[in-house]
Amino acid sequence: MEDMKETVREYVVREYVEDDSEITFDTPLISGGIVDSFSMVSLKRFLENKYKISIPDDKATPEAFDSVNKICALVVEFTK
């Protein structure tokens, strides 16, 4: 789980953070304006590719994607 969190955190920093802001596992990503609703689609695609899962659209909500911790909980939920 810790490895997954670090992988997701690194991806978020690399793809969506423009400055040197620190991103923790609890940093609000969607409500904090770091990842917008359009970009969420690419984040979802990354998770699906990386972890070979399929996240239903109705589960990919702004609330479920709002932190690294929440995202990893979602990935675990859909990992067989």
Partner: protein
């Protein structure tokens, strides 16, 4: 009783001088939006009234009275003059929805310079084409966005200053960068406001078309006359209102109604600079007791998706009037909002070029859910035949929306692109590029765009720009971009791509291309779906037939394929 009182009475005796008189403006006089939105409100005795209540994503809050708005925007003007910024120089605002964006807007106008707002999520390619076209002199930004500008600065010799409003004193500034802390800067009590006149340029917003580069829509200070009165009669702004316009001032709604309309009417407005979540939005309404809420169909449908249960957690009884803009508001959303909020969202129709609301539903008027409503008083709008450009002689026929030019906030030209501007007019009508019909009671019903421009979440995306960006990816041989239907955003970007030899379509390549476009242009322009195909449909002359791909996405008839290459 609403401000408009009676639509039917207003249209009988309307003249824009009604707005001029309310603003104490006489033709030929000085008219400066920056002054009208701050100094004038203070002169009316509201200096201590709250103008702006801002809340950040971490819950931090800042408040500015109208006097503080006046003084701080004076400080911006003073600072810019000190840098040598001249009237009509273009000053870009490249910021999130922070107070500096709202106050900077007024400060730039006060010295007679032209505000060029740009959406803070724009990538480097989107920035370059817009700054290059405007030959921008200065950019006001935040340190989080400065890296994007540093990356492209070598290509933009005309930019003299990058003004950073939250510079870190511990870190050195880059080339052409200067720190400016608006809150703590010198704020002159007496500031000489540039004597702009009605036709002096004010705002330069960029908008996308089907082909060619984005166009700079030039507005003038006289636009205030439309923006003030439409805010008063359509948004029904009252002195006691707590107003929330959810639009980003990187786009026209955020400036026409998120700044000019709100402040020229002297209301208190709230701004939430945070990403979307239903809980956070409802909490914000409850906390600030929002009374007038101007939002967008995309947000409304996202709230619908979040469900009715979350609404019960909050007290939203302060809401008295709701309106929507960006793309057509579907009837389900209108009916749902009436059910859950006790008030229906009223749809308003206009665009960057019109500068203010053109066709709309008014407070007190019979609402037909799904309809655009009726023209604002003083606006002559109709539907014309797409072949003859003549108005239809009866109701119910689908044609092009056409508006008689001459209202105060009409764009004056496309920046350095008079040729494209002239093409927007046919047979004495201005054509916004949308299709609709009119029913037997005079209500307009939106049908769709008349071109290939994609309206996603209320923002226009040019397929040409996305296709051009796609072609810069090393794996892409050819591309065609169309709109794909989407419940929340109405439309999203879909790309059809053929690959160069040696590349194979895969999920990883799909993601790589999505991110490539997102960083180059913006998240809005990022294809939400990419389909790898062997060949794109083309005419025998080699032109890509987008309409065939569009029809496939929308489940429509493909139509005439006689010119198709592989037929």
């Amino acid at each position: 009783m609403s401000n408009i009182i009676s639509y039917d009475e207003r249209i009988k005796n309307f003249d824009w001088s009604i707005s001029e008189k309310e603003l104490d403006y006489q033709p030929g006089n000085v008219i400066n939006i920056g002054w009208y939105c701050s100094d004038r409100i203070c002169k009316l005795g509201k200096a201590d009234k709250m103008a702006l209540i801002w809340e950040g994503s971490q819950g931090q809050e800042k408040r500015y009275t109208y006097n503080e708005l006046r003084l701080t925007s004076n400080g911006v003007g003073h600072f810019l003059r000190g840098l040598g910024i001249q009237p009509e120089d273009r000053v870009c605002l490249f910021m999130d929805k922070i107070p500096e964006l709202y106050i900077g807007f007024l400060g730039v106008l006060k010295i007679g310079a032209i505000v060029q707002p740009l959406f803070s999520a724009f990538g480097d390619e989107s920035l370059i084409v817009r700054l290059e076209n405007a030959q921008t002199t200065a950019v006001i930004t935040q340190r989080k966005h400065a890296p994007k500008l540093r990356k492209i600065l070598d290509k933009m010799p005309y930019i003299k200053h990058i003004i950073i409003v939250d510079a870190d004193p511990a870190k050195p500034l880059g080339d052409r960068e200067v720190a400016f802390d608006m809150d703590h800067a010198f704020k002159p009590e007496d500031f000489e406001i540039h004597p702009t006149k009605a036709e002096s340029p004010s705002v330069l917003h960029y908008t996308s078309g089907t082909t060619g580069q984005p166009k700079g829509v030039k507005h003038v200070h006289y636009s205030l006359i439309s923006q003030y009165l439409t805010s008063k009669w359509v948004l029904d702004l009252l002195d006691t209102d707590i107003y929330w316009c959810t639009a980003d001032p990187g786009w026209v709604t955020g400036t026409s109604y998120g700044i000019i309309g709100a402040f020229s009417n002297g209301v208190t407005q709230c701004v939430l600079d945070a990403g979307f979540s239903a809980d956070n939005w409802y909490r914000f309404i409850e906390k600030h007791k929002i009374t007038m809420w101007y939002s967008a169909p995309t947000a409304i449908r996202s709230l619908m998706k979040a469900g009715d249960e979350v609404i019960k957690k909050y007290d939203l009884s302060s809401l008295r009037h709701l309106a929507s803009v960006g793309e057509p508001l579907n009837s389900e959303a209108v009916i749902w909002s009436e059910k859950v909020y006790g008030k229906a969202f009223l749809d308003t129709y206009w665009q960057t070029e019109t500068g203010s609301i053109m066709i709309t539903n008014f407070p007190g008027m019979k609402i037909k859910p799904g309809s655009m409503g009726k023209p604002f008083p003083g606006i002559t709008a109709t539907v014309i035949d797409a072949d003859t450009f003549e108005p239809f002689d009866g109701p119910g026929k689908i044609g092009l929306i056409a508006i008689k030019p001459g209202w105060p906030s009409m764009m004056r030209t496309y920046w350095r692109n008079e040729e494209t501007y002239n093409k927007k007019f046919k047979n004495g009508w201005y054509l916004p590029g949308d299709r609709s019909s009119i029913d037997n009671e005079g209500y307009f019903w939106f049908v769709g765009r008349d071109d290939d421009v994609i309206n996603t979440g209320g923002h226009l995306v040019s397929p040409f720009e996305v296709e051009s960006a796609l072609l810069e990816h090393p794996a892409v041989a050819e591309s065609a971009v169309v709109a794909k239907p989407d419940f929340v955003n109405m439309e999203v970007v879909k790309a059809f791509v053929t690959l160069k030899p040696g590349f194979v379509g895969s999920k990883d390549l799909d993601l790589e291309i999505m991110n490539f476009v997102r960083k180059k242009l913006s998240p809005l322009a990022m294809p939400q779906e990419i389909e790898f195909i062997d060949n794109l449909p083309k005419t025998r002359s080699g032109k890509i037939m987008r309409r065939i791909l569009h029809a496939k996405e929308w489940g429509e008839e493909i139509g005439d394929t006689s010119t198709l290459e592989n037929d």
